[in-house]
Symmetry: C2
Subunit: 103 residues, 2 copies
């Protein structure tokens, strides 16, 4: 029917999938990489860096913010985006734990 049967899976499985989805697009990867590089918060120069329109970038940022992997703080008239280290640790922990036994 086209809808992801999230209800049929565990909370953990859904969370892991959600975290993975936050990086499951090259633009999202590029955003993360840029935020890592510029260390300090960055705002709409993401639009300059990415080969996408302002509205599209804004949508990606919203999606990533919903998952929690980035945060956005208003600094009128700009918005400053940062990586959420808490969630990055959650990410590495989840996958690290998952694959620790085998490789």
């Amino acid at each position: 029917m086209g809808l992801s049967k999230t209800a049929a899976f565990s909370t953990e499985q859904n969370r892991i999938a959600e975290l993975a989805k936050a990086l499951a697009h090259p633009a999202r990867v590029a955003i993360i990489q840029h935020l890592l590089k510029t260390k300090a918060c960055v705002c709409g120069d993401l639009v300059d860096v990415l080969p996408l329109s302002q509205s599209t970038v804004s949508q990606h940022l919203k999606a990533m913010k919903n998952v929690g992997i980035i945060t956005g703080s208003v600094e009128p008239p700009k918005v400053c985006y940062c990586l959420n280290m808490e969630v990055l640790r959650e990410f590495t922990a989840a996958f690290g734990e998952m694959f620790s036994r085998c490789c």
Copy 2:
């Protein structure tokens, strides 16, 4: 227009996104977890374990096989699926490297 502008991003960014996409669905996570648990190869009992139809499971397996994160070897009339440790290492390396500096 709805198409992922993959051409506008680097090969590395696309590969990372691809790897993430392989885990960006709870069913895929469940498949990985089950393959980790049963260590040895598993076949169609994935269908018994997952709350999805045979055809849907087959599709997920195909997608994951395309990314390379699992392999399937024919053992008539069954097909035996295994994790590809090579690609799992690629996965952990990619994200480990990415986040090594910050957390």
